[in-house]
């Protein structure tokens, strides 16, 4: 059980003034959604939280220890990141790709063992891509690659999940399945934070929300307090119609 704490954090978005510093904490069991229009800094925020880029100000802490003081390998054992973009350099199979999730857990001389293979296999099974295990990644569809990326982080087995638009490219069923997986990770005591473009998925699956405005302003809190139509309309610069279906609010853009 690890908590991710953000103190007075200002992310480094080029050519943007500092805006509001973020101070919040993603506790074990919580599912945080990050909402905001294109270019608001959602991806930059997640990369900063993962220690892949430095903040302009402030600190990111895991269990009270600054990220910068932890080794990369130690961070990778606690925190996993599902990237929005992926580059395939050299050909690799689906199974090999999932297996690299074990990297932070293996010593330099260690080969992947039976247990690592079992974890990778289970993750592929969970994301419904196990039948593709021997295929080259370059031959997969966008949605299949997305599921593979999530399976790789599942193989990594982090206590803190950061996911950059995890439902990108996914069909409706797999969108639901992936959100259920992330919710399940939280229910098992892990902390989850994800960027989303779909307000309705956020409303249904997230218990906390962080709204990032393009000018650097931000507000955050429990989801029910944040899902105010006026605030969301200002966030996206888009008029919304609201309804309630199945106990969750639903937002539809109107002309």
């Amino acid at each position: 059980m690890n908590r991710l704490e953000i103190r007075e954090l200002v992310i480094d978005v080029p050519e943007r003034r500092d805006g509001q510093a973020l101070t919040l904490s993603v506790e074990p069991g919580q599912v945080w959604g990050v909402l905001g229009p294109n270019g608001a800094g959602k991806t930059t925020l997640l990369h900063t939280l993962a220690g892949l880029r430095g903040p302009r100000a402030g600190q990111v802490l895991i269990d009270g220890r600054p990220l910068a003081m932890l080794g990369r390998r130690q961070v990778a054992r606690i925190l996993g990141l599902v990237f929005q973009e992926r580059h395939d350099g050299f050909p690799a199979t689906v199974r090999e790709t999932a297996l690299i999730g074990r990297h932070p857990w293996l010593s330099a001389w260690q080969m992947e063992g039976g247990e690592d293979l079992r974890l990778a296999e289970a993750a592929l099974e969970r994301l419904d891509v196990v039948h593709l295990a021997e295929r080259l990644v370059s031959t997969l569809s966008g949605g299949e690659r997305q599921r593979l990326a999530i399976a790789t982080v599942l193989t990594q087995a982090p206590q803190i999940w950061l996911a950059d638009e995890p439902t990108n490219h996914l069909d409706l069923h797999h969108q639901s399945a992936v959100m259920a997986l992330l919710a399940e990770q939280a229910a098992e005591g892990r902390a989850v934070m994800m960027c989303l473009h779909d307000l309705n998925l956020a409303a249904r699956w997230c218990d906390h929300l962080l709204l990032l405005y393009p000018d650097g302003e931000a507000c955050w809190g429990p989801a029910r307090n944040m899902l105010v139509p006026a605030a969301l309309e200002r966030l996206y610069g888009q008029r919304l119609a609201t309804a309630e279906i199945d106990g969750a609010p639903v937002f539809v853009p109107v002309r």
């Binding site: 080794g71 050909p91 690299i100 293979l117």
Partner: protein, 326 residues
């Protein structure tokens, strides 16, 4: 279904066997043909003095040099391809060989010989590496395409300098310079420094293999999986430069091995660096031993530059493999 991970040893054992066979063939063949019996006699400490000199003083050192140089070039190529995440990268394309050539030719032009040529080539290779990586790094970070482009342009620049030097050099020095440019193992002295380096580097790279696998998927992904990207990038870059500089100073500028061998092996063996790097050392070595044997024997007693053979053999093989691959 869980399939056990392929063991690394069977393919390496096969490649090692091929390498030994190639070495044996290269020792028996030459302008004066020796039988396996002659070789065996020398190996037992017998045989005629001529055969002893031929085998122990000439052919074995030369064959071992060829093996070491081929291995060094192939491993250097494989490393640069991982660093740039681009199968086009190799010491030749990135201008390292060009820098070394300019260094060596400058020494030859000045009428200097032996160790000075070696030192000068080494300095040229390093100058070129610093130039390419320094310029490509610039103010930002290394992007593979920028690095590759810088390398290609620097290589073109070296090419022009080489042409200039050839144009102004006295006619009697030209053949030696041309041979050096196309790769020539008759310049090599002791095979042990490059061979030792090859072995040491392969052992040092083994524990880095999995990190390199992750690096091949991009620096961000690698960092997210716990790799210290920047130190690893510098390690790859320094190691690849030392390997190239050593290879080029031993045998002149031999293109193609660093590009083709890793690529061929990836098509057959996949892209696990823990397997690919030692396999590159063995296959690159084998290839150059065979190429050098051909270079020595095809128009014996005259010799061809080995670089010509590697290209003539390598180009069709490579194109065929590329055409067949999925």
């Amino acid at each position: 279904m869980i399939t056990p991970r392929r063991s690394l040893w069977p393919p390496l054992a096969v490649l090692a066997l091929l390498g030994l066979t190639a070495l044996l063939v290269s020792v028996t063949l030459g302008s004066a043909a020796l039988s396996l019996g002659d070789v065996w006699a020398v190996a037992r400490g017998e045989g005629s003095p001529l055969a002893r000199t031929l085998i122990l003083d000439l052919r074995i050192p030369r064959s071992l040099s060829a093996f070491a140089v081929g291995g060094l070039l192939a491993v250097a190529g494989a490393l640069m391809q991982v660093l740039l995440r681009n199968p086009l990268a190799d010491p030749y394309v990135l201008g390292l060989s060009g820098g070394a050539s300019v260094g060596a030719l400058a020494a030859m032009l000045a009428g200097l010989g032996g160790a000075v040529i070696t030192g000068s080539a080494f300095a040229g290779a390093f100058l070129s590496t610093l130039l390419v990586f320094g310029l490509a790094h610039g103010t930002g970070s290394w992007t593979p395409s920028r690095l590759l482009l810088t390398g290609v342009v620097v290589a073109a620049g070296w090419g022009a300098v080489i042409t200039l030097m050839l144009a102004i050099s006295p006619a009697e020095r030209l053949p030696g310079m041309l041979y050096w440019l196309m790769g020539d193992l008759s310049y090599s002295r002791s095979p042990w420094p490059p061979l030792t380096l090859l072995l040491v580097i392969c052992l040092l790279l083994m524990p880095l293999g999995r990190s390199l696998n992750v690096m091949a998927r991009g620096p961000l992904q690698a960092a997210a999986l716990g790799v210290n990207v920047r130190p690893l990038e510098w390690t790859i870059y320094v190691v690849a430069s030392v390997l190239t500089a050593t290879a080029v100073t031993t045998a002149g500028s031999i293109g193609f091995v660093g590009l083709v061998v890793p690529h061929m092996l990836r098509l057959v063996l996949g892209n696990d660096q823990r397997l690919i790097l030692p396999a590159c050392a063995l296959t690159g070595g084998t290839l150059l031993v065979l190429a050098d044997t051909l270079a020595r024997t095809m128009i014996a007693p005259e010799q061809l530059p080995v670089g010509v053979i590697t290209a003539l053999l390598g180009v069709p093989t490579f194109l065929y493999l590329l055409y067949r691959s999925r």
